[in-house]
């Protein structure tokens, strides 16, 4: 269409030499061991600090267990997270931003039903400032009335945007369908609850729940491991309490059952979300299950993606993956599809679940996911930010850098039989339940004909 003369598609795909062989892999070196400190400070805070001086920066992740069961807990927690860095006894919002900006730094808060997370980074030379601002917010965040009111108002507007996102709608429907009214379902608070939050409630929640004991601070970057524990002890020593941070109540076990077709009138696309109980990282069978999941839908070369995306074109995104909550884990399967192929995509998704158990991964499939599991961990932990996030996730299960260093060996030792056993047990279609969110009028006839699908609103 652009060059006057060009070869045909067939000519382009052919050379005189013909097809060439794929080169073998070369020798692989392991990741260098990084010096680290893993200790518990006097205030009960676990500090995990890793020296990784690839760039002159530091990354910081503070995870505070933040469970709560009250009606307004989720809304109050969300307002707290939005307002925490808007002022302290010593600094107002703009002073906080200015001090952080001058060290190229940022601090951000996020909250979910399980924890409050404060993430930050900055130039390594600015670490004292980063810790000082963090300590100030942890011990003296002021939650003045007009900042709380303004953040609540913004939050209400953001929630309105968020609740129109199909992914958010589907996620909430899935959690409600599976966990009913357990607090884990309140990932996105209701706008009217946010409006009902008073500044005093936010200050009380901070006092009651922003606590060091049981929390973990991960620092990764251009730091001195001999100095860091003392530096953090001095900076955060004033943050203390006799009580421990509050864990989310345990989740009930997910049992298999009917999918729920949740109506979303007029939607052009549907969300398929399946879920089943799985194994935590601490279980000896986890590495085998990890490989089974990758084979199913955990990476692009998986059976599910090859089937419903590459072969049939039903979806742009199909994926399966673990979710770790407390000491438990689930495995989820997600696909977004056009209405006319939703039922067909669900049929194939279930078919692949069954097939994973009864036609277990072939040797080349197992070798492929094994390399992928090892290699993607190397890549994900090769940056400061990636390593910090990975370690923060591991600390929630009480794990640390040793687990990370040893995991490649565990994955290397998994046998094909172990993968087959994990696949048969944990990917059995009957273990799964879930939701399909979409235009019910279009979807219902085919989905109900497939069976195992009921129509309705979740949690009712």
């Amino acid at each position: 269409m652009t060059s006057v003369q060009h070869r045909s598609a067939e000519e382009i795909g052919r050379t005189a030499t013909g097809p060439r062989p794929v080169p073998e892999l070369g020798a692989q070196t392991a990741a260098a061991e990084l010096s680290h400190v893993d200790t518990v400070l006097a205030n009960g805070l676990r500090l995990l600090a890793v020296r990784k001086p690839t760039v002159p920066l530091v990354e910081l992740r503070l995870r505070i267990p933040f469970g709560g069961t009250g009606n307004l807990h989720a809304a109050t927690a969300e307002v707290l997270a939005e307002t925490m860095l808007t002022g302290t006894a010593r600094r107002d919002r703009i002073e906080i931003d200015t001090e952080l900006a001058l060290i190229g730094g940022e601090l951000d808060t996020a909250v979910d039903p399980e924890r409050l997370t404060i993430s930050g980074n900055g130039l390594a030379t600015g670490l004292p400032t980063l810790l000082d601002v963090l300590a100030d917010a942890l011990t003296a965040a002021s939650y003045v009335d007009d900042e709380v009111a303004r953040e609540s108002a913004r939050l209400v507007e953001r929630l309105a945007v968020s609740r129109t996102q199909p992914r958010v709608i589907a996620r909430e429907a899935l959690l409600k369908h599976v966990y009913g009214d357990h607090p884990v379902t309140s990932e996105v608070p209701q706008a009217e609850d946010v409006s009902a939050v008073e500044p005093g409630m936010v200050r009380e929640l901070h006092t009651a729940s922003v606590l060091p004991r049981g929390s973990v601070l991960v620092i990764v970057g251009d730091i001195d491991p001999d100095q860091i524990a003392g530096d953090v002890e001095r900076a955060l020593g004033g943050w203390s309490s006799d009580r421990a941070a509050v864990a989310l109540p345990g989740l009930p076990e997910v049992t298999g059952g009917d999918l729920l077709l949740v109506p979303r009138t007029g939607a052009v696309q549907s969300q398929i979300r399946l879920i089943a109980q799985s194994l935590p990282r601490t279980d000896p069978r986890y590495p085998a299950l990890q490989l089974a999941n990758l084979t199913y839908g955990g990476y692009f070369s998986s059976r599910l993606v090859e089937n419903i995306r590459e072969d049939k074109g039903y979806t742009y995104s199909a994926h399966s993956g673990f979710e770790f909550t407390g000491a438990t884990a689930t495995v989820g399967v997600d696909a977004d599809t056009a209405n006319e192929v939703t039922a067909a995509a669900l049929l194939e998704t279930r078919y692949e679940l069954g097939r994973l158990g009864v036609v277990p991964p072939a040797p080349e499939e197992v070798e492929s996911v094994r390399q992928y599991a090892i290699g993607s961990l190397l890549t994900a932990t090769s940056s400061q930010a990636g390593l910090a996030s990975q370690l923060a996730a591991l600390t929630a299960a009480g794990l640390g850098p040793e687990w990370l260093a040893e995991h490649p060996r565990r994955v290397a030792e998994v046998t094909r039989d172990e993968v087959a056993e994990a696949a048969l047990e944990f990917f059995a279609p009957t273990r799964f339940t879930g939701v399909v969110v979409g235009d019910a009028e279009t979807l219902a006839p085919q989905l109900t004909a497939l069976g195992g699908v009921a129509v309705g609103e979740p949690g009712k």
Binding site: M1, V55, L102, L123, Q269, D336, G375
Partner: protein, 428 residues
């Protein structure tokens, strides 16, 4: 830092430009190929073709069956992707360093002889349509502002059209279109190969010669100019969004040539930071906190970020606001803040805040091997100078308050585009 900022470059006989950036700190390697063609180069009647073609480059070759590309990268422990930008298309892998030769083989193989078939074309048209449904049609603010603003700001097809493509255009794409596009734009002389991470430069050079050396030369297409005059007036556009709960607006301005006027372009980046980066920035302070008119506001260069395109590039300010606030009130406040900056340059501390955050941001970007590999390749392609990436923090720090004032003065209300997004059926 000294280690990872060492780069070297050379050109093969077939015209392929190569950038090497060794860094042994982690046993992983990044490989990227940038082709000098993006969606601004696609012809009328074929909107979305550059992106569709990017998908086809993953679908097999003379040496590899469909799906083999993904399998080889992933079974080597690597990840891959591709992305289509206004002026270039990139393809990349990040893998354990043992897999370097495989990645080079894969990129050379599809540069030499991709298998373009009718079946794959039809299948990838379906996949791209699903991608568009997911990212644009079925979500609030889909395509805002990158698809919606250009047709208001620009008049010529290359700059104004939808780079994701209209479904009717996508469906009409033919195999012959693919062959013509490949032969025109996917020649080694129109591409840059970048390797960053854990490798020996001499060994890499041998492997590059082995795999890319016999990809036949074809001339690179002549460089096109996409220049067009700036808008004459305050041009307005409207879009109704069926999913958006709140109204939104985007203001688009023309900005200095990113390549020919780099320092002036950088002054615009600093200006964007002064306007909207952090709670202490001008527009955040005023419009989000002091007189809360908007829920969110942002400003920046380039519709996907800076250093993605040649001239003309877009400076945009976007805001989501309450239905009780008129777009005119937001625009008036933006104009007032720009006038203030034009009259009184920002002081040293205000500039230092922006440049320190930029400097840290660039360090963080280069700590992620994938971003580092891609940005070295993009800077070779756009600037002929990959190491410019490492000099940017100093160039940014040299921007003066007067430069920022001049940049603010150039964002004129009588030469801009304003896109207004209205929720369907009013706000809920």
């Amino acid at each position: 830092m000294a280690e990872i900022s060492r780069t070297s470059r050379f050109t093969l006989d077939n015209g392929l430009r190569v950038v090497l950036a060794p860094d042994p700190t982690a046993p992983v390697v990044g490989v990227a190929v940038h082709y000098d063609v993006g969606f601004r180069s696609e012809p009328e009647g074929r909107t979305g073709f550059a992106h569709l073609f990017e998908h086809l480059m993953f679908q097999g070759s003379e040496s590899l069956e469909k799906l083999a590309h993904f399998k080889i990268v992933q079974s080597s422990g690597g990840t891959f992707n591709g992305s289509t930008h206004p002026d270039y298309t990139d393809y990349y892998e990040v893998l354990p360093s043992a897999a370097l030769e495989r990645a080079l083989f894969l990129e050379a193989d599809r540069m030499r002889a991709p298998k373009l078939t009718r079946e794959n074309l039809a299948n990838q048209i379906d996949v791209v349509k699903e991608e568009i449904r997911l990212n644009v049609l079925n979500r609030p603010y889909g395509g805002f502002p990158w698809i919606l603003l250009p047709p208001v700001l620009y008049q010529t097809f290359p700059n104004a059209h939808n780079g994701y493509g209209d479904f009717t255009d996508l469906e009409q794409a033919s195999l012959d279109d693919c062959a013509a596009f490949f032969d025109t734009y996917y020649s080694p002389a129109n591409a840059v190969l970048t390797i960053a991470g854990d490798f020996e430069p001499d060994r890499a050079r041998e492997l590059i010669d082995k795999h890319f050396g016999d990809v036949p030369h074809r001339p690179a297409p002549p460089k096109r100019s996409f220049a067009e005059p700036p808008p004459s007036g305050d041009v307005r556009g409207h879009h109704t969004d069926p999913h958006a709960p709140l109204p939104a607006l985007a203001v688009g301005y023309r900005m200095p040539d990113p390549v020919g006027e780099l320092d002036a372009y950088l002054a615009n980046l600093v200006l964007a930071g002064v306007l909207t980066d952090g709670d202490g920035s001008r527009l955040q302070q005023r419009l989000v906190h002091r007189e809360p008119l908007v829920t969110d506001i942002g400003a920046g260069a380039g519709l996907f970020g800076p250093f993605e395109a040649r001239d003309p590039d877009t400076f945009s300010i976007t805001a989501i606001h309450s239905p009780d606030v008129t777009a005119e009130r937001v625009l008036t406040a933006v104009d007032e803040e720009l006038e203030k900056l034009a009259a009184t340059p920002p002081d040293a501390q205000e500039l230092a805040k922006v440049t320190a955050r930029w400097s840290a941001g660039l360090h963080a970007e280069h700590d992620r091997l994938m971003s580092r590999t891609l940005s070295l390749g993009a800077f070779e392609l756009l600037y002929g100078d990959p190491s410019l990436v490492y000099r940017l923090p100093d160039r940014m720090a040299a921007v003066t308050g007067e430069d920022v004032a001049a940049a603010a003065k150039a964002l004129r209300p009588d030469s801009r585009a304003v896109l207004l997004v209205e929720p369907e059926g009013g706000a809920k």
